[in-house]
């Protein structure tokens, strides 16, 4: 029973982390209409960036404060170099170009950090955990990550519902052309959205880095799971990404307890079930 509880907690925490990555993906597609396969690479760069930054700062949260703006800037550069050429091209070419970006990022990772797994330390003040039973504790750091992700989710909802940039983002989802016609330069909007998506993925990678080892290709499972979350939640819907990510997190965690060999398949089966019932995702407009 305790194991189930722990797995449930892990599932929620994992789901919240995936939400960060998936929300970036859903924004980029919802507003810019670009399929970004290299989204997982930003997660990977976040994790490796955390590794390097923490060697200097000594604290993962300081690395976070430094890393997120850097990731945003990196997103701006990548958008300017590559992504902006994709806006009037079809899905096939978007898939191709962003797939090629993965090859480049993976190789860059190997050159900079090598092929061996690394670990990032949990800060001293978050060592240990909450005692759940005589034998089991739940780590403070995981609780902190979950709380952080919830805070980011709330902040995103606030920004999207209450601020000017949020209004522009919502408007961009429904009618990009009208946004441009009303005086908002969509090139800048797209650059901002892409960079914000990159920063969100990197944020997830940074806070996740002390949870597991940092290894080559760490971003790829995150990319695939984010896709599943976006499909379940509905393209462009932050709310959908949130619900979808939690569903996936819990399904994955419980699957690991009850059907260990098929836990990842359960996630995909869940996606298939949602698609059959609602082809546009839980919160999406009908496809």
């Amino acid at each position: 029973m305790d194991l189930v509880l722990i797995q449930l907690l892990n599932g929620v925490q994992y789901g919240l982390l995936i939400f960060l990555a998936a929300s970036g993906l859903t924004l980029v597609f919802g507003i810019m209409g670009v399929i970004n396969l290299s989204h997982g690479s930003f997660y990977m760069l976040g994790a490796y960036g955390a590794l390097t930054l923490t060697q200097f700062t000594g604290d993962i949260f300081l690395s976070l404060a430094l890393g997120v703006p850097l990731a945003f800037l990196f997103g701006v550069i990548i958008e300017w170099l590559f992504i902006r050429h994709l806006y009037d091209r079809d899905h096939l070419q978007q898939v191709l170009l962003t797939f090629a970006l993965i090859l480049i990022f993976n190789e860059a990772q190997k050159l900079l950090w090598g092929s061996y797994p690394h670990s990032v330390p949990v800060p001293g003040y978050l060592q240990g955990g909450v005692k759940i039973s005589a034998l089991l504790t739940y780590p403070y750091y995981r609780i902190a990550v979950a709380a952080f992700c919830v805070a980011i989710a709330l902040a995103m909802m606030f920004v999207i519902q209450k601020t000017r940039i949020g209004r522009i983002i919502r408007a961009g989802e429904s009618n990009r052309e009208m946004v441009e016609a009303l005086g908002i330069d969509s090139r800048l909007l797209f650059r901002f959205v892409f960079a914000a998506g990159a920063a969100l993925a990197a944020t997830a990678g940074i806070v996740a880095s002390p949870l597991e080892s940092v290894y080559p290709g760490i971003g790829e499972p995150v990319l695939i799971i984010s896709f599943v979350v976006v499909v379940i939640g509905g393209i462009g819907s932050i709310k959908g990404a949130f619900v979808g990510a939690l569903l996936i997190g819990v399904a994955d965690a419980l699957g690991k307890v009850y059907f260990p060999a098929f836990s990842s398949s359960i996630v995909y089966a869940l996606m298939a079930a949602v698609l059959i019932a609602r082809p546009g995702g839980l919160f999406g407009r009908a496809a």
Binding site: R167, I168, A171, S174, N175, E177, E180, A181
Partner: protein, 237 residues
């Protein structure tokens, strides 16, 4: 004499292989109200979209209040004082009425806001009543008011109205016309596309007719009324 609000010269626009605008030249003086008439598919919407920068012409030039904006994006033209109320209204369904209105609220190049929110609400009291509703909860007439109000809040010097009263019941139509008249009187130049010939003739300082991508008539309402054959040929009334 100040520069024309809009001056388009020798515009050619293509969609793929089809040549939609064929050497159109078009001028609107500051504060002038010009109607743009013609059957469906003659290029009226394309002309408005080309002027607004939403469609790139293959040749020709566009000047806005004397400034060359031919290579400017739609957003730059909007900030330079051009506002478009498109066919289909272009309301953001997932923004409230108030959010739609304030979405692009900005002063003109003199730093003035001739149409602050209160004045727009005074012009369209129904929008004030429904300010917390979502854009997709409005009726067609309310959406059109919202679209016009949103355009006014960008403090434009010229406004392009495509299918200004399309799909509206006669009473609402009259309401829209009376507000358009107020807007015109406030000194904003306007290009209006609509199907109701008589309403437009009463409103416009000047009328133009498009056929097959060209301007085939440009003159006063009296001159147009007098030429029944022309009306019959190009407007089918």
């Amino acid at each position: 004499m100040s520069a024309p609000a809009i001056l388009a010269e020798n515009i050619n626009t293509h969609y793929g292989r089809s040549h939609i605008l064929r050497g159109v030249s078009f001028r609107v003086a500051p504060g002038e109200t010009v109607s743009l008439l013609g059957r469906n598919g003659m290029g009226k919407t394309t002309l408005l979209r080309t002027l607004a920068g939403l469609v790139r012409p293959s040749s020709g030039s566009v000047r806005l209040n004397g400034t060359d904006v031919t290579s400017s994006r739609a957003s730059a033209r909007s900030r330079a004082g051009l506002a478009i109320v498109p066919e289909g209204r272009g309301i953001f369904p997932n923004l409230t009425v108030a959010e739609n209105l304030t979405f692009a609220s900005r002063p003109n190049n003199k730093g003035e806001r001739p149409w602050p929110l209160e004045r727009v609400y005074a012009l369209f009291p129904r929008l004030s009543e429904r300010k917390h509703h979502w854009g997709n909860e409005l009726s067609g007439g309310e959406q059109q008011m919202l679209s016009i109000g949103r355009a006014l809040m960008t403090s434009p010097s010229i406004i392009l109205l495509d299918e200004a009263t399309e799909g509206l019941a006669p009473k609402l139509r009259d309401e829209i016309w009376s507000t358009v008249k107020q807007i015109a009187q406030s000194g904003i130049a306007a290009i209006i596309v609509d199907k109701n010939l008589n309403d437009l003739l009463a409103l416009a300082d000047r009328n133009t007719i498009m056929a097959k991508g060209e301007i085939v008539f440009d003159g006063t309402s009296a001159a147009l009324r007098a030429d029944e054959a022309l009306i019959h040929r190009h407007l089918g009334v």
